[in-house]
């Protein structure tokens, strides 16, 4: 990210965030913009991906502007090794990415009714680290479930 792009980040971004996983300092250059928000959290447009050795392999996707929103996320390929999700031209355009862009994939973790941890493989979050743009995919024909049981990793 260039300094010019960093200045585009909202000055209202929290410099320190308090999550259920502890307190983290936020580097403004680490803020990922989600122009469409996330379904259910449409007002949350700026997030950070927080990682720590204790949290690994999980990360915390945390909103830094607007309503409080925090998600535990994990690489979907850790939940399902052969996970595949195709991006269409419109998805790539939304992420300002090309076919060659290395993207960060995050699946949201939730608790199933039986208390078993699950991951949402149906609607993964994709981040383009080169543009710090994120978007929650909702492929029309995905056969992956919204609650895929997370085996002990």
């Amino acid at each position: 990210m260039t300094p010019g792009e960093a200045s585009a980040v909202d000055d209202a971004v929290d410099r320190v965030v308090h999550t259920r996983f502890g307190t983290f300092a936020v580097d403004p250059g680490a803020v990922v913009r989600f122009p469409a928000g996330l379904p259910g959290f449409e007002a949350c447009r700026q997030f950070v991906v927080l990682s720590s050795p204790e949290l690994a392999p999980f990360s915390c996707l945390h909103a830094v502007v607007g309503p409080a929103a925090s998600f535990l996320v994990v690489d979907p390929r850790l939940a399902l090794a052969d996970y595949r999700c195709a991006l269409g031209a419109a998805d790539l355009a939304r992420l300002d990415a090309s076919e060659a862009t290395v993207l960060l994939w995050l699946a949201i973790v939730s608790m199933g009714d039986d208390g078993q941890a699950c991951v949402n493989l149906r609607a993964p979050i994709v981040v383009n680290p080169e543009r710090m743009l994120g978007y929650q995919l909702m492929p029309h024909n995905s056969l992956y479930p919204v609650r895929h049981p997370l085996a002990a990793a």
Binding site: F21, D27, V48, S51, L104, V109, H140
Partner: protein, 84 residues
Amino acid sequence: MLVFTRKRNQTIMIGDGVEVRVLRVGRDGVRLGVTAPPAVPVHRREVYELIREENRRAAAACVRPSGTPGRATAAGELARRRTS
């Protein structure tokens, strides 16, 4: 609500970028084709609502694992590592 009668292959325009075309009319359903600019997401409503509910549920259940948190790293660092 605006109500239109459309025949097969007829369309309606929404704004200047979204077009909805009736492709087929069956006994139990209508097949529609939607053309929209990349910036306009198009979803089946029930899929959007399912994802919305799962997101809300996940945010509510974002529980604290054992252990104390350490230094934050972020996608920004990932980007710098990959582009350096």
